[in-house]
């Protein structure tokens, strides 16, 4: 593909990304949702983040790897602890990245 076709494709990718991001907000904002819908949506932050996170930790190379060789999984344990105990977003991200770098260096 030449660069102008790449650009047009990127515009298409942008459009199909933007519409699902904005339409529900535009249509639903300021309305009172039925209580069961509001309750259902209250699960979304926890369930969507877990669904995004889990495959990366358990299958970092694209296949199941529950072993001490899986740095992603090992580093997640102290990272979870820091997130839970210290409630510091910044500290959690820094801990995770720092641990993975250190483990690669020493192991």
């Amino acid at each position: 593909m030449d660069e102008s076709h790449v650009f047009l494709t990127i515009l298409g990718m942008g459009a199909v990304t933007y519409l699902p991001r904005v339409l529900p907000m535009l249509l639903l904002s300021g309305r009172n949702l039925a209580p069961w819908i509001a309750r259902w949506l209250s699960f979304v932050p926890a369930t969507v983040l877990a669904a995004l996170l889990a495959p990366g930790l358990i299958c970092p190379e694209g296949r199941l790897d529950i072993s001490v060789n899986n740095l992603y999984l090992l580093a997640a344990i102290p990272t979870f602890f820091v997130a839970w105990r210290f409630k510091s977003f910044f500290g959690t991200v820094a801990t995770g990245m720092g641990l993975v770098a250190l483990m690669r260096f020493f192991l």
Binding site: I10, V16, R21, M25, F43, P45, A83, T92
Partner: protein, 229 residues
């Protein structure tokens, strides 16, 4: 208004810490996939979605057709629909054009941040835009830096940059687990997501797991309320 905006900038710093390295990794990949500088950085301006851009750069490199790229992006990013709906009730009193701009920068990370910020109070709109604009700016700068460094870099792994995304998801997930039922459904959703991923549904696993686990969660919650009352 300026001070609200700056407060938003400060709140976004943890996201910046994650976006610079992940954006950098995307930039390196985009350079190696043969994209031009303008298009590589343009994707961060126009699409602004981490996993979709990483997949997209790979597909461009592999010579995929435009339709395949657009369709894949759509499927990968469809999960934002649920996030958008979840934030909608918090946007009472917003003007349509403000919502249209806000939605443009709705990512996994800004969503998680806003759902925390907006859970009890309704913070100033300028602060909310401070979070979003800072996040996307750092994403764009990270991609630019990665693209420019791409020629010199073979692999972004040695310094732990590749762990920025999982670490960010952990940091965002933990504060959401306020009630035991959320924790249990997060475990369920994670397990479903892994299962679907391993079965080969590597683009729709996130949204499918989210929908199923949220529905089960609603059922469990209703049932618990029913039995306790």
């Amino acid at each position: 208004m300026v001070s609200s905006f700056l407060r938003g900038v400060r709140q976004a710093l943890p996201i910046v810490l994650g976006y610079i390295p992940v954006g950098f990794a995307y930039g390196v990949l985009a350079q190696k996939s043969g994209l031009g500088l303008a298009n590589a950085v343009g994707m961060s301006v126009i699409v602004f979605a981490g996993s979709a851009q990483l997949i997209g750069a790979g597909l461009f490199g592999a010579g995929a057709a435009p339709f395949a790229l657009i369709l894949t992006t759509f499927v990968v990013n469809l999960r934002h629909m649920l996030m958008s709906a979840a934030l909608a009730p918090k946007l009472k009193g917003w003007k349509k054009w403000q919502i249209a701009l806000f939605g443009y920068e709705l990512t996994d990370e800004t969503f998680a941040m806003h759902s925390m910020r907006m859970s009890s109070a309704s913070p100033p709109i300028a602060e909310t835009f401070g979070v979003n604009i800072t996040s996307q700016t750092s994403w764009i700068l990270g991609s630019l830096a990665g693209y420019l460094a791409g020629g010199q870099i073979a692999d972004v792994r040695p310094v732990g940059l590749d762990y920025a995304l999982p670490a960010m998801f952990i940091a965002l997930l933990v504060p959401q687990l306020m009630k035991p039922v959320y924790l249990v459904m997060a475990v369920l959703s994670g397990s479903l997501s892994i299962t679907l991923f391993l079965l080969g549904f590597s683009q729709s696993h996130v949204i499918a797991a989210t929908v199923v686990a949220s529905t089960v969660g609603l059922g469990v919650e209703q049932w618990m309320n029913h039995t306790s009352s």
